[in-house]
Assembly symmetry: C2
């Protein structure tokens, strides 16, 4: 009973051993993460099309709930770039940005997503996330990065423009180019250039000047804070808001409010598919980060409990004015590097952000949106990585096709269609590959009891025996392939007396393949050719024993291929044997 | 050039060697098949909801075209029960039975199906048919048999009733029970009982009376002809048509007409999915029969050329007043058993049916529809075979679920949804199975160089070494499974120094799995644990060599598991070694 509680409430495990040293480490990490999160939260809210405070609210209750239910010690939960983009795309289809309906849709999306994650966790269905292959994720992230950066150009240029696909966005930008606001452009471009320099040039410079690695790292991470402070001061000092620079403006000075997501069936139906997509993509991002960090300290992540943790976090976001959240890569790595030892660091971060929400929001009144857009652009461009195209091209054409299709479709048709097509395509390509498995004709390596591909090795064969090693499980998609192949081979070979299927790589024989083997056995029997099986694996053999195949088999089942060879092959040509 | 012609026109191959003996055999087979086909063609047209002559027309041009393009020597092409049902279900959704639109829809369906089959053949996409697993086919055929038999009850009872699902049909039958026509019931029930007896009791009786097996067989197959003759005479003699017995009535005395399928885009769009379904199901039925018969004579079937043959046959049906056709089981077996040697037998059958269409149609004027329905019911009930449920239950739960779902959904929701759900479900179940592969921890069988599952065998292990044999290809669906598994195992094992992955059953490592292996290697490196690979297959190794995994691997790649053991294991405990 106690252990079940502990499984569903990881806080009971780490909370019991919490001590002063952990407290100190967690507090230090929390301060660093809080400073980093303030501009980031505002920026991601902008990306999602929501008021700036939504980004901060989405970082408070979710972090606290994850600290109770999550299994990762260092994961930092909150808004992230890709999920913010998906949120904007999903709720943009059901409500107009800036309306009350838009904010309610964001809450509803978070609620649905939280509920779905909880369900997956309780029913232990975390493996569903595996259907997102790495190439599809990589392609999706790269394409999303481009879409996000493009979507922020309007803030940097100070124009109004919409669109959810690359073509729509670029078209909208071009047609509004006339409205460019010079002051905004100066701020936006300067901030972008500065942030790029901080990311690429500052750290080496500091190290060269003798700064320690940790200090250099923190200074780099503080870049966005510096940009925020400098541009806010500039707008205030030069009264740039009067010159058309769009600013954050009034942000309520309050703790996260209690909010209710919408329960209208129509709204829930429209948001259901996006919520599932957001849940799974968020889970994949989060679990990868959590596992990487946990492995460094030999800690354990329970993927199904993680679903529960993320589900609770998203439900928390739904009821406290937030929007969908997940474990973010950048914030978690900072948290880990800054020394966070337990989820309490997250709780302290939440407290820090709550203080910011109450006390510091007046300070961002003059913060220009162009600066926030600049931080987004610089952050997401680091996600864009076309090297996956080259890597998959040289490794596997199927994976390349999946990446390329995901990137193209995401850019052309939007994030949801892009990722859905990527998943379907990678499943189809996998099935296609297994539908025509590698089948090697093998022969005996002279002087050994090993059998190798006759095309790769100099091996001994017997014209009366055809030995095929099938390098794939036999199941319905390739069952007929083997029938066709054997029919072709047997029609050709008049001298043939025995067919041996070497099953060392056959991990499963499903019912369709079983019937195919029965058909093959039947046809070979008609032709007076024996069918033999060798090296059948334990679990496969256990199953075959429950059927009639082995009774009807016109040949035998041998434990090893060499046994079959000894029993069936004619004595080798004496001239050859003497070699 | 010549050989390419020969590939696409198999008639050039067999036609060149055609001689008098083949001619005699083909003629005899054609006469027997023609007699069997006349009532069958009328009955299947009734099942499809088309006028009786459509069934005969669908057996003339298609047979001739298949004879030119098909690769099977004995396949007989024409209307079959399941395809007739699918036709009725598809065109019933776009037109009212008995209208001109209904007949045009049937032609269009045949045309679309023919075009699709041709495309698949030309692009050599025959493997797509493999996605229909044997359990799904078996479940679908059984459920279709029940649906077909139920759909014919109205003809046997002499009432009007509709419906496409079992519940609809039974409901319609029950609500019209009051309209039962006594004369029709007498004819229908008598004919059904007689045909059942012919099928079950006549052959043993004849054999007991000393008849040869061939004669007994032909007499059995002639049962439907006898029923047709007897009931037609009865209707004529007792003027039963005046007493409400529904009869075939006037059938045009003519050769197949030239017809045009409909080309309205709306109609084609509505029929596209059913046409694809009909094509694939028809192809699967046809190729199974063709391969079984060809194997008996060491003949070769080219699946892609078969698609072209069936495509041509269906296009022929579309332009000569027919409806979708395929290679039928019953008619092909009769053709083969009667001694057909070449597709010319089919051509002669076509001539026989053409003569029947011109000369014999007045004779079926008084043929009661109840008799035709009886022949259908008796024929399709032999398709109903629930033993597949028992067989798959004992062999594999996944296959059982696929069968059971296909049967239930086909009965409840109709043929199209049933088979589509069956296909999707069997793919999902396959992916689910491979998502959690069998992984065995193995140890050395003392005194040998074999490694076996530590849970099944008494083997030698080393606390510093964890050897896992993964019995599945590594690909995106199970990539994270291995990561999770290793994380769990490594966190537990403090003494652990080496992890060995034995890859003898790993037939593929896709890009996702490659990245997982890199992540595993990275995490194990952090923990000071070595990662080693053994028994990697040739094609998998070729691919890994193009990547950086092998450079970064913190352990080694060994050719055999025994090599790895010799290199990494501590000398065995002397006490144990002495045993």
């Amino acid at each position: 009973m106690k252990s079940r509680f502990a499984r569903y409430l990881p806080i009971l495990t780490w909370g019991r051993h919490y001590d002063r040293s952990a407290l100190t480490n967690d507090l230090v990490a929390a301060v660093i993460v809080t400073i980093m999160l303030i501009p980031q939260s505002l920026a991601y809210a902008l990306l999602a099309g929501l008021p700036p405070e939504a980004g901060i609210y989405a970082s408070i209750a979710p972090i606290l709930l994850y600290a109770v239910f999550g299994t990762s010690r260092a994961l930092a939960v909150g808004p992230v770039a890709v999920i913010s983009l998906l949120t904007a795309s999903a709720i943009g289809q059901v409500a107009e940005q800036g309306t009350a309906g838009y904010a309610v849709a964001a809450l509803t999306l978070a609620g649905l997503s939280g509920g779905f994650l909880l369900l997956l966790g309780v029913f232990r269905l975390g493996f569903l996330a595996n259907f997102l292959s790495h190439p599809v994720i990589a392609g999706f992230i790269t394409a999303s990065g481009i879409l996000i950066a493009t979507s922020q150009l309007k803030h940097i240029l100070g124009i109004e423009a919409g669109g959810h696909t690359l073509i729509e966005m670029v078209g909208a930008l071009l047609s509004h180019l006339g409205q460019i606001n010079p002051a905004t452009v100066i701020i936006g471009v300067t901030a972008t250039a500065f942030l790029f320099w901080v990311r690429k040039g500052l750290k080496p410079l500091l190290r060269k000047m003798g700064a320690g690695p940790l200090l250099a790292d923190i200074a780099t991470k503080a870049g966005p804070v510096a940009a925020v402070v400098a541009t806010t001061l500039a707008v205030w000092a030069f009264d740039l808001a009067e010159h058309g620079v769009s600013i954050v403006g009034e942000v309520p000075q309050a703790l996260p409010p209690l909010t209710l997501p919408g329960f209208a069936p129509d709204l829930m139906r429209q948001l259901a598919i996006p919520a599932i997509l957001i849940s799974i993509i968020g889970f994949v991002e989060s679990i990868s980060v959590a596992q990487t960090l946990a492995a460094k300290k030999r800690q354990r992540i329970d993927p199904n409990q993680e679903l529960i943790g993320l589900g609770a976090a998203n439900l928390g976001a739904a009821f406290t004015g937030g929007y969908p959240v997940t474990g973010g890569f950048a914030r978690s790595v900072v948290n880990f590097d800054a020394g966070a030892e337990t989820p309490a660091a997250g709780a302290f971060t939440a407290v820090g952000l709550a203080i910011a929400a109450v006390a510091l929001t007046p300070l961002v009144y003059y913060l220009p949106n162009a600066t926030l857009a600049a931080t987004i652009v610089v952050a997401v461009l680091s996600l864009v990585d076309f090297s996956i195209l080259r890597k998959t091209w040289s490794y596997s054409r199927a994976d390349f096709i999946a990446v390329a299709a995901t990137i193209l479709l995401t850019l052309m048709l939007g994030v949801e269609i892009g990722v859905a097509c990527g998943v379907i395509l990678s499943i189809a390509l996998h099935l296609y590959k297994t539908s025509r498995p590698h089948v090697a004709e093998v022969g005996l390596v002279p002087g050994t009891n090993h059998f190798r591909n006759i095309n790769r090795h100099d091996v001994q064969t017997d014209p009366e025996i055809l030995t095929l090693r099938v390098d794939e499980s036999l199941y319905f998609v390739n069952a007929r392939f083997l029938e066709d192949l054997l029919q072709d081979r047997v029609v050709d070979g008049d001298a043939l007396r025995h067919v041996i299927l070497m099953c060392s790589a056959v991990n499963e024989i499903d019912y369709s393949a079983l019937e195919s083997l029965e058909a093959i056995n039947h046809r070979l029997t008609d032709l007076g050719v024996g069918l033999h099986l060798t090296e059948v694996k334990g679990p496969v053999m256990d199953r075959l024993k429950t059927t009639h195949l082995l009774d009807h088999l016109n040949g035998r089942v041998f434990l090893s291929q060499y046994d079959a060879w000894k029993a069936l092959a004619k004595p080798a040509d004496p001239a050859k044997a003497a070699e």
